[in-house]
Symmetry: C2
Subunit: 204 residues, 2 copies
Amino acid sequence: MSQLLPQALLTAIDEIGKLPGVGARTAERYAYYLLRANQSSNEKLARAITALGSGVSYCPKTFALVDADQEISPLYTDPSRDKTLVAVVEEPLDIIALERTGQFRGTYHVLGGAISPIDGIGPEQLHIPELLNRIAEDTVEELIIATNSSVEGESTALFLQRQIEEQGISIKMSRLARGLPVGVDLEYADQITLSHALEGRRIL
Amino acid sequence: MSQLLPQALLTAIDEIGKLPGVGARTAERYAYYLLRANQSSNEKLARAITALGSGVSYCPKTFALVDADQEISPLYTDPSRDKTLVAVVEEPLDIIALERTGQFRGTYHVLGGAISPIDGIGPEQLHIPELLNRIAEDTVEELIIATNSSVEGESTALFLQRQIEEQGISIKMSRLARGLPVGVDLEYADQITLSHALEGRRIL
């Protein structure tokens, strides 16, 4: 079978196909869309992609994403935010999800992942020492361990809890509630979620 | 709410979100992936996107996509392909789908869309005159009208059939068979598909 598509399109399909969760068909669709889009909008996209590396850095305090010319995250420096209440998350984008609730007025700490022996990620690769420093410096009173409810997230939460207890740090620690998500019927809920919902039931 | 993400990341999310079918969450996921990817692979992606415009052109005969320095599509110039058998498709990528079957040894003609009054696409925007030219030039014997089985695809097929008949061109015309796709249970097939499957049943 001879080459069916122009090389420039094949290269674009190939490069786009490296994005997470993008299969061959989706990559073709995106590339074909870009092929028909105007050149200036494609150049804007290309510039945005190349500018990512130099335009973004990590806050050395919270490890949230910040502009490259910024030092500390505004989510930390904002005086209206409670530094004694810290939500510990796996990834920087988890902050966005929590901020969207509009319910949290504390600060954040990004671990930079979760403990996952299969992926070769051990606790020493996470920003745990920096968290322990913050607990002391900011006299943190409560830690909301908001790692995912996956196996890795749970292990990380447990590891963190033990680490803090072993160091003799006395602090309130909590996990996000688990139960039925809004809009899901009882009959369609999985067994584990339903067990958590039963266990965490609230007296009316 | 202050700006939660670095400007460079927001710009990338915004630009990526213009791709077809990419919502805010997906755009965030792609941008965050690119943020952590290495700079050289991002530059390759950016170059591939900007090179699309100048690297690809349309074959003036079949309207398939070709390299910018190529004149006529190799799918047309290849002497082993039967020029008297033409598959008429809506979009260039439809050719790939048909080629993947390995069953077709004719040539292609890309209409460049389908008749869709809602989207303001009339027959005058499709490559129909060029098709009529090819029918005469290449003494085409059979036309497989392989437009989609959507309302627009069906209207386009019907329009094409009438146009050719009105011009007094005597030629064999066919449509791709419609029926049950492989792997779909009878009980899950929709009514229209099942009607087509009944209508087009084959005697054993």
